[in-house]
Symmetry: C2
Subunit: 371 residues, 2 copies
């Protein structure tokens, strides 16, 4: 029973998770694109299995701790999708010696040379993709940049292809704009792979990322795999982008009412930013959801109620319009569920998931953090 949980606590609706995962698998299948789900949000093996609909498979990770955890749960083919540095090669090499196939990413000649040298020291070749900067928001070589060929020469057989992350899709204010970002994302990697192949580098992998472009991209021609992650859980930022509906959000924080400020029309709950995270991803969207959208204990949103502000362990619940609260509905100790702005940030504040099936607590799934 929800009432038996100590608040604040992270809830994961496994029925919604399964539906979200099934939709993405079907979509990628219909486009003939392999799904290599990003496990940085979930950091849990049961979620990975739901995403893949299989005991193991190909995944993406953002930390070597994720790589080690999933390897220990039977996963072998793992893309470590954060720029590699020499000091981390020993840990990758150790996993490879145990049977993993870790692929690194590289976006400079200097980085490629350091990876090759570190591989020589470890007595093994570390495979890599070149990161392509498809939208100027983070890392990567510009599409079709000459540096690609220099990197290819250094990595030789170790260069497995190209990847990009369309981070700009998170800032799109219309679905049309997400579609444009998806076009640019695809063209950036496809053209870069073509350049490498013309130079004699096989580049079998052409990899794209991001949930919004995976959901709204119209063509995946030339793309071999996609690495979305947040679609498994969804969140208010995704709902604000039109990527999902509010009812597709699988993750929430169960909180208790701990106080009333009647003259201010505030209900205080025990989910502050420590439970919700400080992520205010909807602040720049059309509808600002504060630190989270407030639902009743069953998960039904309550007439425009949001966590308007947050301290470390206090959430301030108020109506979006500042209107009157019916305090009798929210006695001290009563339960509310809060949908998060950003599933990745909120999940990271918790050590486990309380898993719901058919709306009832059915078990606990672990969750780790750290690097």
């Amino acid at each position: 029973m929800l009432e038996d949980l100590e608040t604040p606590v992270l809830l994961l609706d496994a029925d919604t998770l399964d539906a979200n995962c099934g939709r993405m698998r079907a979509r990628m299948q219909s486009h003939g694109v392999a799904l290599r789900p990003h496990m940085k949000t979930a950091k849990n093996v049961e979620v990975a299995r739901a995403a893949l609909d299989a005991p193991t498979g190909s995944i993406t990770v953002s930390t070597l701790r994720e790589a080690e955890y999933f390897f220990d749960h039977g996963f072998r083919d793992i893309l470590y999708a954060v720029g590699m540095v020499p000091a981390k090669v020993a840990r990758v090499a150790a996993l490879n010696r145990r049977g993993a196939r870790i692929t690194a990413i590289i976006d400079s000649v200097e980085g490629a040379q350091a990876l090759a040298d570190a591989g020589t020291r470890e007595g093994q070749r570390i495979d890599a993709l070149v990161e392509i900067d498809s939208d100027g928001h983070r890392a990567g070589v510009p599409p079709e940049d000459r540096a690609l060929l220099d990197i290819a020469r250094i990595l030789g057989e170790g260069l497995r292809g190209v990847m990009t992350h369309a981070g700009d899709s998170y800032n799109s204010d219309t679905v049309d704009r997400i579609r444009q970002v998806a076009v640019r994302e695809r063209e950036a990697v496809v053209a870069s792979a073509r350049m490498l192949r013309a130079a004699g580098c096989a580049s079998p992998v052409v990899s794209v990322g991001s949930t919004p472009t995976a959901v709204f991209g119209e063509s995946f021609e030339g793309v071999t795999e996609a690495r979305p992650g947040v679609y498994m859980f969804n969140d208010l930022v995704m709902a604000g982008l039109g990527v999902c509906r509010i009812e597709d959000i699988a993750l929430s924080v169960l909180a208790s009412v701990i106080g009333h400020q009647r003259d201010k029309n505030w209900v205080l709950v025990d989910a502050g930013w420590m439970a919700m995270s400080r992520d205010r991803g909807t602040a720049k969207q059309k509808v600002d959801q504060g630190f989270g959208l407030v639902c009743d204990a069953a998960g039904q949103p309550i007439e425009d109620l949001i966590v308007a502000d947050a301290n470390q362990e206090h959430g301030i619940v108020a109506r979006r319009d500042g209107g009157t609260i019916d305090f009798a509905r929210f006695p001290i100790g009563s339960l509310l569920r809060i949908l998060p702005n950003h599933a990745c940030a909120t999940a990271a504040q918790h050590c486990e998931y309380q898993v719901l099936r058919g709306g009832k607590v059915s078990g606990t799934w672990e969750r780790f953090s750290g690097w």
Copy 2:
């Protein structure tokens, strides 16, 4: 050696910690106020001992997990400074049965009655302070409100006094303003205690909170204890308030350079918001420090370099003025130290502290999270 640590990793300079703790102890002693340090930031027993300069002592906590952890390390007198709900009383009562003296906080007649009823069910009286709302920023009964007397009647001997948290001090833009907040904070609790005493309730405890008011308050007359917390570590928000100097910040994140975007004048590091937190507390201050102020590996700030933006595992380092970066100073794999906006939020992203003494790594201190 710093070079042997895997980045990103949380560093705690124990020499700076000791100096920060010593200054606060001396200040509180000179005002005749007991120090009940808030352990919500540190969540570690070694830090508590540094704060108290003793193996155990009176502390403040923000979660029952903190209460249990510190009790297991010999601490008995613990103030749980988040509004109490009936469902959490069993856990408090269990600690008390083992020898703890947990004090709860209450800010309504309804909450007081629920606490008294839950205490009756557990067969023990749960002591409490009434929270006073000294600045309208969060929870609490208005100073000298009649509800105080109603709560006192319900709690009887269990009512130990009053407390407040001057959260507004974090928003002050001058030291004078912090001093004004401190006056209001003190007057709110002292007047409320006077009202309770006039009604026959002993109210021995008159407790104030917040690092800025502890540092700048000029009078503590009538106050019996203070509960600052972040002063142990300090952070960029505190430096921006004038509460500490940059060199008094004991906490930092060690990061590796993972890439260069030369045409944008960006250095990419492996400390994104997962390592720094999403806290942007300096955004509303005079100097916006982005996601953190960048220092060399020894902790010396580098000419206006900040983490200008952050993805989950990527930090984008740039000059505050957008100026040119000398990339030769930041080769791939080189180390940087990043000072955090908000120590509470950044520490919460990590599972342990790498402790520095004399600038060298001297050990690892644990850190827990969850509720």
